[in-house]
């Protein structure tokens, strides 16, 4: 006897017609559900996220089928991927049956589901079902036995677990009973190709045939109804993430990371800025809320959440979702809460880990813009004074703009007066210009440039704050003032190439200024110095020391610069030990998002958590590549009375190991 089976065996006369009708009902219910969801998404403003559709579709397909993003965190992610792959194969198997019965058999008289192909088909589907069953077990254990912290469960979660379990179990029973009544007797060799079905079949082998057929028919209908029920409820329950989470891969931004929507200051009719009500957000912001499955990964990595501040990126997204789904017009900011909005360091850890491609940071910035530009609100008076100082003096300290380049006195730097012929223009930044600790970094940098034979110029007092902290606090107007002033200064200096030791300046000049027509090459000192070393222009004769490297968020996560700083520390004699979170998973120092200008009044200091991690490595040097991080570490180490750990910038580490021979 050949290896095949009778499709719709024992399902009764006319069952197929009824099945297709029910399928239509299920699909109709699904379509209606998504139509309603779409009306919720459409409460947001338009935004084009469908350019380059082919590239987007490829990414969507690759992300979804590989389950890359969700499986990246194996705990929870791996069983999720297994469940997905299991059901995907089962769906494919079912579609193949449809193809066979309604296309190949009637029109081509060809039986695909036969012979060796059928054997493999049977085996694969059996194993897929088993895989899904196991994965479901692990996920249920995680949710209901281990009770993973941060994983919040609703009754709907239990319902969905039970529904999936019921679909899988009834599937196997239907298969088992059919096999008990047919293959087990007729073709036992074939039965072995369905190992799980075989096990179930042996349970029912003793039943009399009449009972077998009755049970099979009843369970076949039940299984079918459950499966169609599943399809129907997709948009009405969290199952909608089948479309929205995977779909969000399609809608991911294609702009460089951290690109914030521009504000048109030329439009004189515009009276609203930022987001204070749901209609101020884009449809994608609301769609994100539907893509979020509350897995809690963002929350577990959020520096603000981890140190007891009232911000959970996940809850921000959920709040937006519930407001969008309610009739409420405004109250967005109250629902999310000002303390949550101001607590964000824009470190991007949430977006980096999010398996659903949710963009948390942009929404928070939009709400900050509303608070700042529409109401003149700040996270604290000190931040308001800092913004005033940036506006007047060009630096957040309120120090004289004329003394901006005092640090350069007696150093091998020319201050631009007219044009410059220097190889690089060093955009010093506020901290390296004024903060005594960071001035040492500037000194080290120009000294090592001199050692490598690179001529360095600075803008001197024509340089102003790059505007980044103000922009991240929502003060787009002040940012724009600074940006335009700096761009003009670069132009009149006829600068050719800019290097900065500050990742915030770097990111702002290299990315954000682009939309204002600025197009000079900009580099961070980590990659610049690394090249000087690897090209042999800087000869190092390093002492050996133990070090750990703290990734600046705006270097690692925003600019993918992870390896170069480490190679540099090693080239300068450092033996590196990594902290528990490093690279793109690094923990913020607490100064990003304009928080450097504000006091950290809620929870415990974020920087303390990072220093705890650094100390655990046992290293003597905490290497940094950002003036904000360095300031945070210096202050905290002083406050803690810690003398074992020394925070140094890459430039300082390299400068002290230059071979003077």
């Amino acid at each position: 006897m050949g290896a095949t089976r009778e499709i719709f065996w024992n399902t009764g006369h006319g069952a197929v017609v009824v099945m297709y009708l029910l399928a239509l009902v299920a699909i109709g219910a699904m379509a209606q559900g998504f139509r309603l969801r779409r009306s919720i998404w459409r409460r947001g403003k338009p935004l084009d996220r469908a350019d380059h559709p082919l590239r987007r579709f490829t990414r969507f397909l690759a992300d979804t089928i590989s389950q890359r993003k969700v499986a990246r965190v194996q705990d929870g992610g791996l069983p999720h991927a297994m469940l997905f792959w299991g059901f995907l194969l089962l769906l494919d198997g079912t579609l193949l049956v449809m193809l066979q019965r309604d296309l190949l058999t009637p029109f081509f008289r060809f039986n695909l589901l036969s012979g060796d192909f059928y054997k493999v088909y049977s085996l694969v589907l059996d194993l897929a079902g088993l895989l899904a069953l196991l994965a479901l077990g692990v996920l249920a254990a995680r949710r209901y036995v281990i009770r993973t912290p941060g994983l919040e469960s609703t009754p709907a979660d239990a319902g969905i677990h039970l529904l999936l379990l019921a679909i899988l179990v009834t599937g196997f029973i239907v298969e088992g009973v059919r096999m008990a009544s047919t293959e087990l007797g007729d073709n036992p060799g074939l039965a072995l190709w369905s190992p799980v079905g075989y096990l179930f079949a042996s349970l029912f082998a003793g039943m009399d045939e009449h009972a077998q057929r009755a049970a099979h028919q009843a369970l076949w209908w039940l299984h079918m109804l459950l499966a169609f029920g599943f399809i129907a409820i997709i948009p009405w329950t969290k199952l909608r993430h089948l479309a929205t989470t995977s779909g969000n891969s399609f809608f991911e931004p294609r702009e460089p990371k951290g690109t914030l929507p521009a504000v048109d200051f030329e439009d004189e009719t515009r009276e609203r800025f930022g987001a204070s009500e749901i209609g101020d957000l884009t449809w994608k912001d609301i769609f994100d809320a539907d893509a979020c499955m509350a897995c809690g990964r963002c929350q577990q990595r959020c520096p603000a959440y981890l140190t007891g501040k009232p911000l959970s990126p996940m809850k921000v997204i959920n709040e937006i979702g519930s407001i969008a789904a309610s009739a409420a017009e405004n109250g967005l900011i109250d629902a999310v809460s000002r303390d949550a909005i101001w607590s964000c360091t824009t470190c991007g850890a949430c977006e980096e880990i999010c398996p659903a491609s949710v963009e948390h940071v942009g929404k928070i910035i939009e709400m900050r813009r509303s608070l700042m530009l529409m109401a003149g609100e700040f996270p604290g008076d000190e931040a308001r004074r800092a913004c005033d100082a940036i506006e007047i003096n060009g630096n957040p300290f309120g120090l004289s703009h004329a003394s901006r380049c005092d640090w350069a006195k007696g150093l091998p730097v020319t201050v631009v007066d007219g044009g410059t012929e220097a190889e690089i223009l060093y955009f010093t930044g506020c901290y390296a210009s004024y903060d005594p600790r960071n001035r040492k970094v500037a000194e080290s940098f120009v000294k090592l440039c001199a050692a490598a034979g690179i001529s360095v110029a600075t803008l001197g007092k024509a340089e102003r704050c790059c505007g980044e902290p103000a922009r991240k606090l929502g003060n787009e107007y002040l940012y724009r003032m600074m940006a335009e002033s700096n761009i003009e200064a670069f132009r009149s200096a006829k600068a050719r190439r800019i290097v900065t030791a500050c990742p915030h300046c770097f990111n702002t000049l290299a990315r954000d200024y682009r939309e204002l027509g600025f197009d000079l090459p900009v580099e961070h000192h980590s990659t610049f110095i690394r090249r000087l070393v690897s090209e042999g222009r800087l000869k190092l004769n390093p002492p050996t020391f133990s070090a750990t490297y703290h990734d600046s968020c705006y270097l690692a996560r925003y600019q993918d610069i992870v390896d170069e700083p480490r190679l540099l520390v090693q080239a300068a004699g450092g033996t590196l030990t990594e902290m528990e979170c490093s690279g793109k998973d690094g923990l913020c120092c607490g100064a990003g998002g304009g928080r450097i200008l504000a006091e950290e009044k809620l929870g415990t200091p974020i920087v303390d958590e990072r220093i705890r991690m650094a100390r655990k490595t046992g290293a003597s040097t905490l290497a940094t590549a950002c003036p904000f991080c360095l300031s945070m570490f210096e202050d905290a180490l002083k406050r803690q009375g810690n003398t074992e750990l020394k925070a140094l910038d890459l430039a300082e580490i390299v400068a002290r190991s230059i071979d003077r021979q």
């Binding site: 200051f265 530009l373 529409m374 003149g376 008076d381 308001r384 003096n393 003394s403």
Partner: protein, 263 residues
């Protein structure tokens, strides 16, 4: 209700000040300018009062100086003032308080201001005279250095700080002039729509003569930048050595030990 706020544009006090060519005042080259801090309290208080009264109040912001002061007038508008008046006077920094007061009083006379707010003093000249001189010339009541203000339909209660942190409360009736002191309020940060509006707002520009500029009563003769104290000397060693060092310093650098000295 008609409110006038007098504001001055001053250099940022963190700047480096050097005498100008005449040596009578500081050179303006390289300075950055901002609204006098005390005047920001005045603007804020005026705008708060206007807001509490609803639509029936108008706040006029007035500044005297060269064209650069327009920026500060617009700042006041962006904080909520309704109208800007610029007395275009390139010589303003050289004027004495009497002259400044003569122009403000000349402008205010006959315009029926119920209240005039000014800063307690300017950060650069610090004469603290302009407010009271204006009140005197207009013949209205004035209170200097207020740290609290409460309006009750035509009359007001204000608080001012006395020496040693003591406070006193005064009641008076409009029209009146109040000079504002630190602690009165925290000036607001202008909202973007207001900044945009303030940029488009038309200002009234007047000449010093048209508002009755008078001759000065005093003139500034000489300006010297801050003279840093000589660096301190730290002596080290036992009492014997220290005493010997002190004697040698007194001998070499002073005359206290010489003829006619303490000895």
């Amino acid at each position: 209700m008609n409110i006038l706020v007098c504001i001055k544009q001053v250099p940022d006090m963190e700047d480096h000040f050097v005498p100008n060519a005449a040596g009578r005042w500081f050179d303006e080259i390289g300075l950055v300018w901002r609204m006098n801090e005390y005047d920001a309290f005045a603007v804020e208080e005026a705008v708060r009062l206007k807001e509490s009264l609803g639509g029936e109040a108008r706040v006029t912001a007035l500044s005297i100086g060269p064209v650069r002061v327009v920026e500060t007038i617009r700042k006041a508008l962006s904080m909520g003032c309704d109208e800007g008046v610029h007395i275009d006077d390139p010589m303003a920094t050289e004027r004495d308080p009497w002259q400044i007061a003569s122009m403000i009083a000349g402008f205010a006379a006959g315009r029926g201001f119920d209240l005039i707010f000014t800063g307690m003093q300017s950060e650069d000249r610090s004469s603290a005279q302009v407010g009271v001189l204006v009140a005197e010339r207009l013949g209205i009541a004035s209170v200097t250095g207020i740290t609290a203000f409460e309006w009750q339909d035509g009359s007001m209660t204000v608080e001012r700080e006395l020496e040693g942190g003591r406070k006193c409360r005064l009641g008076l009736k409009a029209p009146a002039l109040l000079t504002c002191q630190l602690g009165l309020n925290t000036p607001r940060y202008p909202t973007l729509p207001n900044i945009m509006k303030s940029k488009r707002a038309a200002l009234t520009v007047l000449s010093p003569e048209s508002v009755g500029l008078e001759s000065p009563k005093a003139s500034s003769e000489n300006f010297r930048p801050h003279e840093p104290n000589a660096a301190g000397v730290i002596l080290e060693g036992d009492a014997e050595t220290l005493a010997a060092q002190v004697v040698s310093i007194l001998e070499s650098r002073t005359s206290v030990l010489g003829p006619g000295g303490v000895r």
